[in-house]
Symmetry: C2
Subunit: 104 residues, 2 copies
């Protein structure tokens, strides 16, 4: 694996890692329905606001979401709805895994 390939894969990995957490998946699904502010998401996720803020910051730096300040609130929105396409595939893999386990 040469340096160029590795660098390309690391860039992809940053985005995939950003999605690889239950709370972040939850927020992405929620943001697919519309903009939400941090305190709303924190309430829904059921974690400390600082934790949720860090999750959002991570999603933002990965390019998955975008933020917008309004007064003293910060609203987040999905930047790329194609991310939702991930989930269909993930479901397919899960079905495939279930099938595999039945085989054994």
């Amino acid at each position: 694996m040469d340096r160029k390939t590795r660098s390309r894969l690391e860039a992809r990995t940053r985005i995939i890692k950003a999605l690889a957490h239950p709370s972040r998946l939850f927020m992405v699904e929620e943001l697919a329905r519309g903009k939400r502010c941090v305190c709303e998401l924190a309430e829904m996720v059921g974690a400390d606001i600082s934790t949720v803020s860090k999750h959002l910051s991570l999603l933002k730096s990965a390019g998955v979401v975008r933020d917008e300040k309004r007064g003293n609130q910060v609203w987040y929105e999905l930047r790329c709805t194609c991310v939702l396409g991930f989930f269909d595939c993930v479901e397919a893999v899960m079905d495939s895994l279930a099938e595999q386990e039945r085989e054994e």
Copy 2:
């Protein structure tokens, strides 16, 4: 976030996490071209065989790949090619991120 939702998201997370590593991405792309044995992949990735074996074991338990013993070798193959669809989306997110950075 209720218990049922969390459990569903954790299941999805397992699969996404399995893809969230440069070497594993590399192997998935390589397996998209056809079956490969562990030593071939280890050679290509440029890591210790034991490391590659653990990566493959992780991908397998996530349901992304399947293995098949032939003599004293083990061949791996993609179980669900839809995983490749991830990458198109990832590219889109990366483009979107580049755009975001130009804006700022």
